[in-house]
């Protein structure tokens, strides 16, 4: 199951519970005086606030280990990373390498040549496995582990003009021929 489905399932449970409460309250046709309700509401409110506070604090603390930034990822992904220079331009990607190892972390150094693009890496099942922005004037360093060999696709996820939907590029992870791993794509069409 992809990370996205886990996130979606979590959302479905929470949103479903909320929707069920709203429907239940709306369909409860009994009437009760406000004074009686108020007493119960005060108890409910205290429990609700305390429960949510605990949930939020725990969620925040746990989520700090999921941060996609280098200070967290470099501890999670030890070893010397393979560096790949990436430049996004309307409407193609340039990568310094088009075949990458599955055994070491990959460090994408991403920038934008003209406007801001979204550098999102899709695995073979079509799920995003990591992303960062390709912004002109800045280099964003994305450290990821692509341990599953195969063909990965980069899609642009930031609106960058009329060709936004078609701005994609593929690269390979796994067994690389010497020319591919050292040479790169040689332009926007080379690896597509």
């Amino acid at each position: 199951m992809s990370v996205q489905w886990v996130i979606g399932l979590g959302f479905l449970i929470m949103a479903g519970c909320l929707a069920a409460v709203f429907v239940y309250v709306a369909r409860d046709t009994r009437t009760q005086s406000w004074d009686e309700i108020y007493e119960r509401a005060a108890v409910l409110r205290r429990r609700w606030f305390r429960g949510l506070l605990v949930f939020a604090v725990v969620a925040f603390a746990v989520s700090m280990t999921w941060l996609p930034y280098q200070f967290v990822r470099s501890a999670e992904l030890p070893g010397t990373p393979t560096k790949v220079a990436v430049s996004g331009h309307q409407f193609a990607w340039d990568l310094s390498k088009n075949c990458l190892p599955s055994t070491s972390p990959i460090e994408f150094e991403v920038t934008g040549a003209d406007v801001t693009h979204g550098f999102a890496i899709y695995d073979e099942s079509g799920s995003i496995v990591g992303q960062t922005q390709a912004m002109p004037g800045f280099t964003n360093v994305l450290l990821v582990s692509l341990s599953k060999p195969g063909t990965y696709t980069i899609h642009c996820t930031e609106l960058c003009g009329v060709g936004h939907s078609f701005m994609k590029q593929t690269f390979t992870v796994g067994s690389c021929g010497s020319s591919a791993s050292s040479g790169g794509c040689g332009g926007s069409a080379g690896c597509a």
Partner: protein, 516 residues
């Protein structure tokens, strides 16, 4: 629902000529807003048609312009629509200037024309966030001049909100004595402050004060961005930092969306008690919640820049912390209070409370998705996918727009002197509810499939999702047209109150214990 006596001692508030002007102005705002809602909704429907592959070649040539028209139109409409509702209610409590509000309306009409010129004539297609430097580097997609009317329209919207916010603060301080009393700070020291002969604040005033105080910095920094952009239009060699521009964009843009929501909460506070016949009063925890939101909102916008790794790591962590803090108080406090207000109240589900309740539901569901997405580790996988469109539309379309429709039904008898059909309204609510949640669910599901947002042509094999979304959008459209038909036929009928001086019975304080 309507009555003529007024509790306030202020003669200005009881002036029949002023009441007539207030009603007429509100009528114009309601009709304009509703017509724009239908047109902008049609633009959304058109986008889903393009994405589902039904309109072929139109995709590349027009999608981005329609996207921008829909986006800037809708975010402006929700903000100004909520403001129109708030103004109507506050104008009956405070001597708000009808002249200023008339100028604001005329300026808004000019802004609408400018957006049409920019997007539908100039084909300006950056999306409503006009991320720098896309407006100037577009590969021939649109001429740079089309950015100018767009910027002017944005400026007008910003200034209209600012003008009313400042007037509200000025008149509010005069009435309540200080900004602190508008916020209800005395409740922090004493949950049941003794009567000191001066008026006490109410929940709607607190929400509107939050809106005003958060909008002032947003308008100022938004103005900086507009000036920087305008300089580059006329002096192309002048450039700015893309990261700075993005921070400015989302500081102001995130505020715009949030102030719309907070004004919607204000309307909820004012309207829902009329139907549940229960008080929704100021309490200490509510004051704390809104204060926390006011402060946290200044830093929450950083979650829009999680994928800009060049931002300092500490800023990203602060962004997540304040995103949680800003969302929980307003969302949790208001929704829990609203649900308790309705529970076993014997409420009759006429269209006004139905739409307000639907709005609460949309806010809760969309807010959950938004809080999840404001977690940087989650955002890494969902950022700029249709998941974002999912939670955004859940909050804005199924939340704030429902508040707009609920408010419209609530004020219609007083403003127009006529009654809309309950049966038509209920059928429309059903269609809009079913259709709206179909649209939103498809967005969420597409996000799980990692479908990027703002794609004219969807990833291969996912067009069927857009098609289901289109069916949902059509249901929403039919619901909207049902209401439109009812409004049109009712307005052609006789007027129940020819003198046009009716006003809402909208007590500021109500007896009974504070709500949970």
């Amino acid at each position: 629902m309507t009555t003529t006596p007024v509790a306030s001692g202020d003669d200005v508030l009881r002036d029949p000529a002023r009441l007539r002007t207030i009603n007429r102005l509100t009528a114009v705002w309601v009709i304009t807003g509703f017509v724009l809602l239908l047109i902008l909704g049609l633009a959304g429907l058109l986008m889903r048609s393009i994405q589902s592959g039904l309109l072929g070649g139109l995709a590349l040539t027009w999608f981005d312009a329609i996207l921008t028209f829909h986006g800037i139109g809708m975010v402006s409409l929700v903000a100004l629509g909520m403001m129109a509702g708030c103004w109507y209610i506050f104008a009956q409590r405070l001597p708000m200037s009808t002249r200023l509000w008339t100028v604001c309306y005329l300026a808004t009409v000019v802004a609408v024309v400018l957006v049409i010129i920019s997007t539908l004539i100039g084909k300006f297609g950056t999306g409503w966030t006009f991320l720098y430097p896309l407006p100037y580097s577009n590969q021939g997609g649109w001429p740079v001049w089309s950015f100018v009317p767009f910027l002017l329209a944005v400026t007008i919207v910003v200034l209209v909100i600012l003008a009313i916010d400042l007037e509200f603060l000025y008149r509010g301080v005069k009435k309540y004595g200080s900004l602190g009393r508008m916020y209800g700070l005395e409740y922090l020291a004493d949950p049941h402050p003794a009567d000191d002969g001066r008026p006490r604040t109410d929940l709607m005033t607190i929400a509107m004060t939050t809106t005003a105080l958060t909008w002032i910095p947003a308008a100022l920094l938004g103005a900086v961005l507009v000036v920087l952009e305008l300089i580059q239009v006329f002096v192309p060699t002048f450039t700015t930092s893309a990261l700075l521009a993005k921070n400015l964009t989302f500081f102001a843009g995130h505020m715009l969306v949030n102030v719309a929501l907070y004004m919607g909460a204000g309307l909820l506070y004012a309207i829902l008690p009329s139907y549940t016949k229960r008080p929704w009063k100021v309490a200490r925890y509510v004051v704390i919640g809104w204060l926390a939101t006011t402060v946290a909102l200044w830093f929450a916008f950083y979650h829009h820049l999680y994928q800009d790794f060049a931002q300092p790591d500490s800023v990203q962590v602060i962004g997540q912390l304040f995103s949680y803090v800003s969302a929980f108080p307003a969302l949790v406090v208001t929704l829990l209070g609203g649900v308790m207000l309705v529970w076993r109240s014997g409420i009759r589900w006429t269209p006004a409370p139905t739409f307000m309740y639907l709005g609460m539901t949309g806010w809760a569901i969309g807010g959950t998705g938004a809080i999840m997405d404001s977690t940087a580790g989650v955002n890494q996988f969902m950022h700029n996918t249709l998941w974002v469109a999912g939670h955004f539309h859940a909050i804005m379309a199924m939340g704030v727009m429902m508040f707009f429709l609920g408010t419209m039904y609530h004020v219609f008898p007083a403003v127009f002197g006529r009654h809309l059909s309950d049966r038509v309204g209920q059928r429309a609510a059903l269609l809009i509810g079913v259709g709206g949640y179909t649209v939103v669910s498809v967005f969420f599901l597409s996000g799980i499939f990692s479908e990027p947002r703002r794609y004219a042509v969807q990833l291969p094999g996912t067009e069927w999702l857009a098609l289901i979304g289109l069916v949902g959008a059509i249901l929403v459209g039919i619901g909207g047209l049902l209401i439109a038909g009812n409004v049109f036929s009712v307005l052609r009928g006789p007027v129940a109150n020819p003198d046009g001086t009716e006003r809402l019975e909208q007590p500021e304080t109500q007896p009974g214990p504070a709500t949970a």
